[in-house]
């Protein structure tokens, strides 16, 4: 029986987001549901997995299966789910603190494990849920947090560079102020067979009002992107100040996925112990 095509709004759960008015994450939610509609997904075959933070609230707002786990561990939960259920489309969502600080190790290993999933990091360079502390992507001279009154004084984490070094095969950067381009990036990311990393510059109106200025500086990559060449990708990433958008790198790598095919019975293994 043909099922009528779902529209973007059909993928929204109807639960009202906790986000502040004007938060960039609304645009990410909209772009993700548009991407899902564009790809024609059956809702129940999608699982959205997240950790903790403002952006990690996203699964509840999507009408699909969702897993809102603990801080920093979204990629781990998603990897277990995908290993056990390769039939599902797995999307992981979270923020810069969740993904790059407390979850940094999982980020590295998810990149190199290259399971077929899409990881969207809504990067606002601040911990919003705990009311405005510096994150790994905050510039070292940002002094607006009482916890780091002199700024962090340490260099920023460069997500794209680290994803590349860790072995990710798909790296893109989007901007919440450019929803159509973001939808395109997400469609490409979800269709990429492997671990696709999408950093979205998604401003925090409450704790980083200065990010309103992003619309002046965000621009498409002027280089010839995407590239399949790791060295070139590294140059593009390092040459850019972190505000250029587009797909930076897309290169096919072997995907890690257990086959989950039964070929024998348990009693055969039990017999190994017989004397």
């Amino acid at each position: 029986m043909p099922v009528p095509a779902l529209k973007a709004k059909d993928y929204k759960s109807g639960i009202k987001p906790v986000w502040c008015p004007g938060c960039g994450h609304f645009a990410v939610l909209a772009a993700l549901t548009k991407a899902m509609a564009h790809l024609g997904f059956e809702k129940e075959r999608v699982a959205v997995v997240s950790g903790i933070g403002c952006s990690s609230r996203l699964p509840a707002y999507i009408d699909s299966y969702g897993f809102h786990g603990i801080h920093g561990r979204a990629l781990a939960a998603a990897s277990g789910l995908k290993a056990a259920r390769p039939d599902l489309t797995v999307v992981v969502a979270g923020g810069d603190g969740d993904g790059f600080s407390i979850g940094g190790n999982h980020f590295l290993h998810a990149c190199r494990r290259n399971m077929d999933m899409t990881y969207i990091v809504m990067d606002n360079e601040v911990y919003g849920m705990t009311k405005g502390q510096a994150s790994p992507t905050t510039r070292p001279t940002w002094t607006q947090s009482k916890m780091t009154p002199h700024g962090t004084g340490i260099p920023r984490f460069n997500p794209a560079a680290i994803a590349l070094a860790a072995g990710a095969g798909f790296i893109a950067r989007g901007y919440s102020g450019e929803p159509a381009e973001m939808t395109r990036l997400l469609v490409e990311a979800i269709e990429y067979p492997g671990f696709a990393f999408v950093q979205v510059l998604s401003g925090c109106v409450t704790f980083r009002p200065d990010q309103r200025g992003w619309k002046e500086v965000v621009h498409p990559f002027i280089n010839d992107v995407p590239t399949e060449d790791r060295i070139k990708a590294a140059q593009i990433i390092q040459a850019d100040e972190g505000k250029a958008t587009g797909i930076i790198y897309a290169s096919p790598f072997p995907v890690w996925q257990p086959e989950n095919k039964q070929v024998t019975e348990l009693n055969l293994f039990e017999e190994e112990f017989c004397i």
């Binding site: 257990p258 348990l266 017989c274």
Partner: protein, 577 residues
């Protein structure tokens, strides 16, 4: 009195320790003796002791066999086989000898150290090295094995069969040489040492470690996904499971750390696949936050914690039962869950299966407290029967329009939909939530879900498997996990003196079956809580739960030395006098 014990122990079982420096083959020889004993109709146990070296260094194999099940080492050893005397001082503590013991050694290895001579053990010398060097690929451990078999009364044919099976992967020449060495050792000195043991019945047996036995239990329970990080002394379980899961339609994922392992199995279980991880103390500490997530999102998972000496890195290669506290109380918030402890290597199969299936059925977390002494010891056991265990996860395959993932039901178990099921979509959450699964900080939702998560555990009927209870009498020993073996041994010896005691060995530690436990203790005069840790963790738990009569005493001995039955018997009898 004590001597009577020892005489009886020697009549009922035979204990041999084989020691040597790294590469001397002590552990291989131990395994061959153990499996040869199995071929002669005995049950048995082999524990190992090794230094901290990764490779090389000293090692010792302790083997005990008997017509009866063997679940602990004896109070002393009948035979010490020293392949050499290097590093023997590191093991002397672990190998108590008496004037009835025999030391088998090679005169070429030097004099028997004074500390071993002091107990009056008889010394028998066999030129291991001379015999071995006369053979191509000749190994001294195989010569010693032959001499040892003659002394313990094991048939040469049984030894030969074990050598063929265990060494076959090393090739025909190695086996041929080993068989010749065995024969030289066996025939060198045929003076009998003591009357051989009564022959055992020929059981259908397995030769298996506790780690493997937990693996079997996991697979029987339906586990088809494991994520884990290597850790001593749990890794062998993972190594055993990995290739087998793959052939049973599942997989094992080696995670980047334990934080990942626990969250990976939660993800897989959310997907509908029964999932497990295995670890030891430091790993369990890292997993505790994840356990809370599984508990609140009601995503079933099982953690097998193979305990080692703690806290912190502690004593990685030696056993201790010191993780009961963290297993019971490690989680923040009100977090009722299941905690189990297998009572023997044989029981690792049943208990792990039970833990997995109850976690699935009750949609909660199971922590299984095995330990190094179970996990890394090799036992000859009767084949564990496959129990009739109906517990499975309640899966909602056709949710109606009213479906709520966290619905309050009569038995407090909410049917669960799996991803892929139309109409059953929900978001599992570590945030407190309402019946729909929507995050909620309202008092009414919190109370309702707290009650649900508690009631489903409290109201379930765990039947009689919560403990093994045996014996009768005024004195009652309460114990748990691997200490059960030595407690049973103490009871056996007391019965040789025509005295019985009651034993309550607790398999299900949480939720504590208070009424059943109180009934089992009922009227006991002496009550002793026996466990292998420093602070009496079970004793304190039972006290806090109000189930221990006032006069109860604690016998808590930390690792790494194993508890010996003599200590328990002395404590029980001394106060009577």
């Amino acid at each position: 009195m004590n001597n009577n014990n020892e005489v009886s122990e020697s009549n009922n079982s035979y204990s041999v320790a084989i020691t040597g420096s790294g590469g001397s083959g002590a552990v291989t020889a131990g395994r061959i003796v153990l499996e040869a004993a199995a071929r002669c109709g005995y049950l048995g146990l082999m524990t190992r002791s090794a230094g901290p070296q990764i490779r090389g260094g000293e090692s010792a194999a302790m083997v005990r066999f008997s017509p009866d099940p063997v679940e602990c080492m004896g109070n002393h050893f009948d035979l010490l086989v020293a392949l050499d005397w290097l590093n023997i001082d590191r093991f002397a503590d672990e190998i108590p000898l008496t004037d009835k013991s025999l030391i088998l050694c090679d005169p070429a290895a030097g004099d028997v150290p004074a500390q071993l001579r002091s107990n009056g053990a008889e010394i028998r010398e066999v030129p291991f090295k001379v015999f071995a060097s006369g053979l191509p690929e000749g190994r001294i451990n195989m010569v010693a094995l032959g001499a040892m078999a003659m002394i313990c009364g094991l048939q040469l044919e049984a030894l030969e069969a074990s050598v063929k099976q265990i060494l076959q992967r090393k090739g025909g020449e190695v086996v041929e040489s080993a068989l010749r060495a065995l024969s030289l050792g066996y025939n060198h000195d045929r003076r009998p040492v003591k009357a051989p043991l009564l022959p055992g019945e020929r059981y259908d047996v397995w030769s298996i470690t506790g780690n493997q036995a937990c693996g079997v239990g996991a697979l029987r329970g339906g586990v088809r996904f494991v994520a884990a990080y290597p850790i001593t002394p749990a890794s062998e379980m993972l190594e055993w499971l990995a290739p087998r899961l793959e052939k049973l339609g599942g997989s094992l994922l080696q995670a980047e750390d334990e934080l990942a392992s626990i969250n990976m199995i939660i993800g897989a279980s959310f997907g509908g696949v029964p999932s497990l991880t295995a670890t030891s103390g430091p790993g369990l500490s890292l997993m505790v936050e994840g356990l809370g997530l599984a508990l609140v999102s009601e995503t079933p998972v099982t953690v097998v914690n193979v305990m080692r000496g703690g806290p912190s890195t502690g004593i990685p290669t030696k056993s201790e039962q010191a993780d009961l506290d963290i297993a019971l109380y490690g989680l923040h918030g009100d977090a009722p869950h299941l905690v189990f402890a297998p009572l023997s290597i044989h029981d690792c199969v049943f208990t792990t299966q039970w833990a997995v299936q109850l976690a699935e059925h009750l949609q909660t977390i199971s922590v299984v407290l095995s330990d190094q002494s179970l996990g890394q010891s090799q036992a000859i056991i009767e084949i564990p029967p496959v129990p009739d265990m109906p517990w499975r996860r309640a899966i909602e395959e056709a949710p109606d329009a009213d479906y709520m993932r966290y619905r309050v039901t009569a038995d407090s178990i909410s049917p669960m939909t799996l991803p892929g099921t139309p109409g059953g979509m929900y978001t599992a959450d570590g945030l407190e939530h309402n019946e729909h699964g929507t995050p909620s900080s309202m008092a009414v939702d919190h109370r309702e879900q707290l009650n649900k998560r508690l009631n489903k555990l409290e109201e379930f009927d765990y039947g009689d498997d919560w403990a093994e209870i045996e014996g009768q009498g005024d004195a009652c020993i309460i114990t748990w996990g691997s200490s059960t073996g030595v407690v049973k041994e103490a009871r056996k010896k007391l019965r040789w003196q025509s005295r019985d005691i009651r034993i309550i060995a607790i398999r299900l530690l949480a939720p504590l079956q208070k009424q059943k436990l109180s009934r089992a203790i009922g009227g006991a005069g002496r009550i002793l809580v026996v466990e292998q840790n420093h602070s009496g963790q079970l004793f304190r738990y039972l006290r806090a739960q109000g189930v221990l009569p006032k006069q109860a005493e604690s016998l808590a001995q930390p690792g790494p030395l194993p508890l010996r039955s003599g200590r328990i018997i002395r404590l029980l009898t001394a106060k009577d006098e």
